[in-house]
């Protein structure tokens, strides 16, 4: 088998898979190297499925808005897999005056970027979602937000890229990137050395040690998150939900099960040291939180709980960037827990960046060298 490609992508998550698909559509030869046995084992399969614009940093908001307008609506058809995209709005909920202030700030920033989002009161909230308790007094409402299925979207991009001839090789962790004559050239794995003109590092938190082999650092740390899933319930509501405190989020899937994420406050002190294992306190704590918002769900049964890692960036915004210091090297990582919703747009624009040298959306605010020490 040939070990030379136009592009090698390190990381078989949704970012790597989507970029591989859009590169293959442009006619480039691509190999995706995945460290684990499974495609999409990291944050791609371990997130709440939000496809939202509201609540985002203004640096990544253009990607979110562009993806929701141009890619998400036709994605199931394009990939031949039902990604369960549902565009029925996002409610970000608040209970206190402090929450109201946070939500107002986020809303003002988003409005200044041209997003249709506004503050609504308790009665308006319960007109949209009658299951919410009276404790909820304010919310931001963005009608063009929504959610999708991270599992089928990630594997859908994989399936479609594979059909277009992209090679995927699992259990191939990258030990080292190597430059030859000053430009990126080789990707070293336990079994083989792969060569390419361009290399994209999209390996979540593991990107940090891979990039270190060519002297590049992205300041990010892993941060644990835990979710729980209920048995299938009758259809109740279609909105994506979040809170001002970001302590709870979720939606009801097409299948009927609810997927809810929450935090116990001990995520940064977990003992599992890198393994995505649910703690004994996480699911119970999230259940108490959910019941306060949704008393009607008290009898819903939890069928499973799971955990994952965010690649949490110093400024909580991703790094999507060419690396001029290492010509031919590109980075897409540090998505900080909100990468899924922008993943199609990221894949599309990174493919343009790699193949054409420029992208539809200006990504200069997400450069890798934006981090400056205190003055």
């Amino acid at each position: 088998m040939s070990k030379y490609n136009d592009v090698i992508i390190i990381g078989g998550g949704i970012i790597g898979n989507a970029t591989a698909y859009y590169l293959a559509k442009k006619g480039l030869s691509v190999t995706v190297l995945e460290a684990s046995k499974d495609i999409g084992i990291g944050g791609s399969s371990r997130n709440g499925g939000g496809v939202r614009q509201s609540g985002r940093d203004t640096r990544e908001l253009p990607l979110a808005m562009w993806g929701i307008k141009n890619l998400w609506p036709g994605l199931s058809e394009e990939l031949g897999v039902d990604v369960e995209y549902t565009q029925k709005g996002n409610l970000r909920l608040g209970k206190t005056a402090a929450h109201q202030k946070i939500l107002q700030g986020l809303t003002d920033k988003a409005v200044s970027c041209g997003l249709d989002v506004r503050m609504i009161n308790g009665d308006e909230i319960r007109a949209i979602n009658p299951y919410l308790s009276d404790e909820v007094t304010c919310a931001s409402w963005c009608p063009t937000d929504g959610h999708a299925n991270p599992l089928t979207a990630t594997l859908g991009y994989y399936k479609k890229a594979r059909e277009l001839g992209v090679r995927f090789i699992t259990e191939s962790p990258c030990f080292e990137l190597r430059k030859i004559k000053g430009v990126i050239r080789q990707v070293v794995t336990p079994d083989a050395i792969y060569e390419a003109d361009k290399v994209l590092v999209a390996a979540g938190f593991d990107s940090r040690k891979i990039l270190a082999t060519v002297g590049i650092d992205v300041p990010m740390m892993p941060l644990k998150m835990e979710c729980l899933v209920t048995e299938a319930e009758p259809p109740m509501f279609l909105q994506m939900l979040g809170t001002a405190d970001a302590d709870f989020y979720g939606h009801q899937s097409k299948h009927g099960s609810f997927v809810f994420g929450g935090s116990s406050g001990f995520e940064h002190l977990n003992k599992d040291n890198g393994s995505p294992i649910s703690s004994s306190i996480g699911a119970s704590c999230t259940c108490r939180g959910i019941i306060k918002y949704f008393p009607a769900l008290a009898d819903a049964k939890i069928v499973r709980a799971w955990a994952g890692w965010l690649d949490d960036c110093a400024d909580h915004v991703p790094v999507i960037s060419p690396v001029e210091e290492v010509p031919g090297l590109y980075i897409a990582c540090a998505f900080s827990g909100h990468g899924f919703g922008i993943a199609p747009a990221v894949g599309y624009n990174v493919a343009e960046m790699i193949a054409d040298g420029h992208s539809t959306i200006d990504l200069s605010a997400l450069r890798y060298d934006r981090f400056k020490p205190k003055q």
Binding site: M1, S45, K159, T170, D191, I290, I291, L297, K301, V303
Partner: protein, 109 residues
């Protein structure tokens, strides 16, 4: 490199079988034919089949169909089942109501 890690390997065309309509995952009602087709779509692990089709994601969490799915993958890829990992097991062991799971705190009366 183990052959199973090369996702572009030729595993031959999907050939329908007379018993493809048999239900393998009872909770989510996924058939043998759907699982075999998913393997030909590139889903080479039990976790991927689970995420792609929901087989093993229902009430019993794959306690019934996990082994059957694994054997189907092994047969389709022509490897021994021992080469494949089982799907990840997740808590709780049995479905539990939110109000029960959320009531684990010991009260100090």
């Amino acid at each position: 490199m183990k052959s199973i890690n090369d996702r572009s390997q030729d595993i031959g065309p999907f050939v329908s079988q007379t018993d493809d309509a048999i239900i393998i995952c009872r909770c989510e009602e996924i058939t043998k034919g759907e699982i075999r087709q998913a393997i030909h779509d590139g889903m080479f692990t039990v976790n991927e089949i689970r995420r792609y089709l929901r087989a093993g994601m229902g009430l019993c969490q794959g306690q019934t169909c996990g082994k059957l799915v694994k054997n189907l993958i092994a047969r389709e890829l022509n490897v021994i089942p021992d080469q494949l990992d089982p799907a990840t097991s997740r808590s709780p062991m049995r479905p539990v109501e939110m109000k029960v799971l959320g009531n684990e705190e010991v009260s100090h009366v």
